[in-house]
Subunit: 297 residues, 3 copies
């Protein structure tokens, strides 16, 4: 792209696209994934009661995307286990984060600047997983745009998409919510990436692959760091999302009742609670509030 040549970024973009995720970026992904698992309620108890269940959950956090995309493409979901080196590294990260003497590793990695860097490196691996999924699907289903979007999304955000079943491993079952009903930031940004890369692979988006990799990676890394530094959880495209939503998906007020057969609230109350819920949904920081708002409906 001319912009890239003007800014002398072409070589940088090529260099980034040829970067290997193994071993440092993968290690960062594993350690941040296991740390975020550890910070879930009830996990420390599970780690004491059943190290095996804790290990299995951690592996789902680390390799969930590979497992889900394998299931979708009828490849063996056990294939990630065959990559013994990565599995051993991920297991080592799990062991150090949960059971290290003096809890050294978790404490060290929680130090804010270190966590910021590791999180940035984890975000870089997201691009690689999305591109890998899109390419893999594209090889099997030429020009299958929706398959490529689905598989790229699964590979990049699989751990979140299978969260209900990962929680089941730990004895937790929360059917009232899932990543489709209420999408978290990582899942949204992975979907965005998957759509972009699929459009690019199907030649709807006139861009070179390494340029798109560069732009997308810079975007997700800087955005994640901004969110961590500012302590905010606002998604850059939330206003666009709101506009799209209000244009395409608001039910008309006429004809068939807006009211579900299980409810008795009147139409005005429902409209106001829906717009209230939508503005709540864009604020990822208040899952509890959004949950209460949902209950009002």
């Amino acid at each position: 792209m001319d912009v890239f040549e003007i800014l002398n970024l072409n070589e940088l973009a090529l260099g980034l696209s040829n970067l290997s995720m193994f071993p440092y970026f993968d290690m960062a992904h594993y350690i941040i994934s296991v740390m975020s698992l550890r910070e879930q309620p009830g996990v420390l108890t599970v780690s004491q009661l059943s190290p095996l269940a804790c290990w299995f959950s951690s592996m789902l956090y680390c390799f969930g995307g590979a497992v889900l995309s394998a299931l979708m493409m009828a490849d063996a979901p056990v294939a990630p286990l065959s990559n013994t080196t990565n599995l051993l590294i991920a297991s080592l990260m799990w062991y150090l984060v949960f059971y290290c003497p003096l809890d050294a590793v978790y404490s060290l990695a929680s130090v804010w600047p270190i966590r910021l860097v590791l999180t940035g490196m984890k975000e870089v691996t997201r691009t690689w997983k999305v591109v890998g999924g899109v390419t893999q699907a594209g090889r099997k289903y030429k020009d299958g745009l929706f398959v490529m979007i689905a598989v790229g999304w699964a590979k990049g955000a699989g751990g979140g998409l299978i969260s209900n079943f990962e929680q089941l491993v730990r004895g937790i079952w929360k059917p009232e919510t899932n990543e489709l009903l209420k999408m978290s930031y990582p899942t949204k940004v992975t979907l965005l990436g998957s759509v972009l890369f699929s459009l690019q692979q199907c030649r709807f988006l006139p861009m070179q692959t390494h340029h798109l990799i560069f732009i997308y990676t810079i975007f997700i890394v800087t955005n994640k760091m901004r969110m961590m530094i500012m302590g905010s959880s606002s998604y850059p495209f939330s206003s666009l999302e709101s506009v799209l939503y209000k244009t395409l998906f608001v039910r008309p007020l006429t004809f068939s009742p807006l009211i579900d057969s299980t409810q008795g609230s009147d139409q005005t109350l429902k409209n106001s609670s829906i717009s209230e819920q939508k503005s709540n949904n864009t604020d990822q920081r208040n899952p509890e509030e959004a949950k209460n708002a949902k209950k009002k409906d």
Copy 2:
């Protein structure tokens, strides 16, 4: 078959078996499926809160059979997504039924004669799906009668068989019931069709394929229309079902106690409640009553 020649139905049967489901019959299937999803409790709320979850549920209603049979045969469950044309048509039906201005499409399709015709067309697609599943399994497992029955059943009634997991997408979880514990009419009639076509493919049933297609299609379409016109839900073979059940599956009153380890009811009470439940089970119109009867046990 001589009967067919006598009644000059052979050419009609051949014509029916060569009929293409695309695009009109498929569209009827999609629109009726999405409408029946919409009439489930709580779905209108989901359609407002998360159009994506609503879309995903609709796709499971439309393509659930293809997804389930693919999972069973170790084919890619994501394959239905690769049929872009059908996916786009189904998505269009979803959008129009849920979000059409003035709610025009749903209101129009709900007009009774139109709904009757569309439902009849949907029933025709059932035959195609069962035959497709049975044939597909037959290619991979020659003379594998039970595989053919299972895959034909899954392909024709998959949407119902995976209902627990489709509801999970919408945040609903009702583990106390499923299509095996309490089979709905579509699932029963699909199982019947799958058994017939599997027996015919394995040459246990001496009939030509297009004759069986003709008879089965006429049966399910007329029966469904009769049920809609009469407002009844009685299954034509319910008496036969009752007789089979009482002959084969009633527990003897001797030896080991009839009582489950969780119950304290005496033997006479249990026998009477079981026969009561069985007569309730054959009446599909009273799921609540059958549920209460089940609770008494």
Copy 3:
């Protein structure tokens, strides 16, 4: 191995490894599996309300390992259905155990010496399933040690590992527990076997296959019989398990708090309750007590 030659056991070991499981050992496996399903709470009710759901559960008990390992290796999970002979035998066992006039079969098989022999024969099939799974995985993933362990484990203990979903077929859902959180004896001993056979296949354990088959089979059969005769459920390696656990998986008392974000108990209380739970966990006879101890945490 020299020991084997000295004790003239080599021919016996070879003979055992060439033994065919069909039909007597398989029949013993089916009948004991269906009997143990029947003894679950609520199953007799299901057998009356829905013979189909009862049959499906029984098939999951009988073939659960084959189904789970097929899912893991991206083979068709419906493949066990294609083995018509075994399926018919298993279905016959199901019918006789649940619906035999005078309840003859269940009563006869429950006679203690007969049940002891049948259970011993079922344990023999465990070895064959583990070896089968390990070998199958080894063919596809040469030297993939963890894949071989996982698939061997799934094939030998699959019925237990998928217990949450088998219960769902019967309308029961108990997410708070699963075989990873609280491993039952059969699952533990199968994992042990899978590890041993995988190490032996990857040449880490210098032993011939038929010798290992012999030793492992003798161990699991005699241990199971001892447990049935003594009425005990203590696992021979529970002390070793305790030592390993205390060495590797006890959390250090320093740095980050030991307390989950959902609890307020102080550190001493938690340590004492954890050691109490661990000693409870090794006693398989007291699932209720362990469950109460778990609730205290």
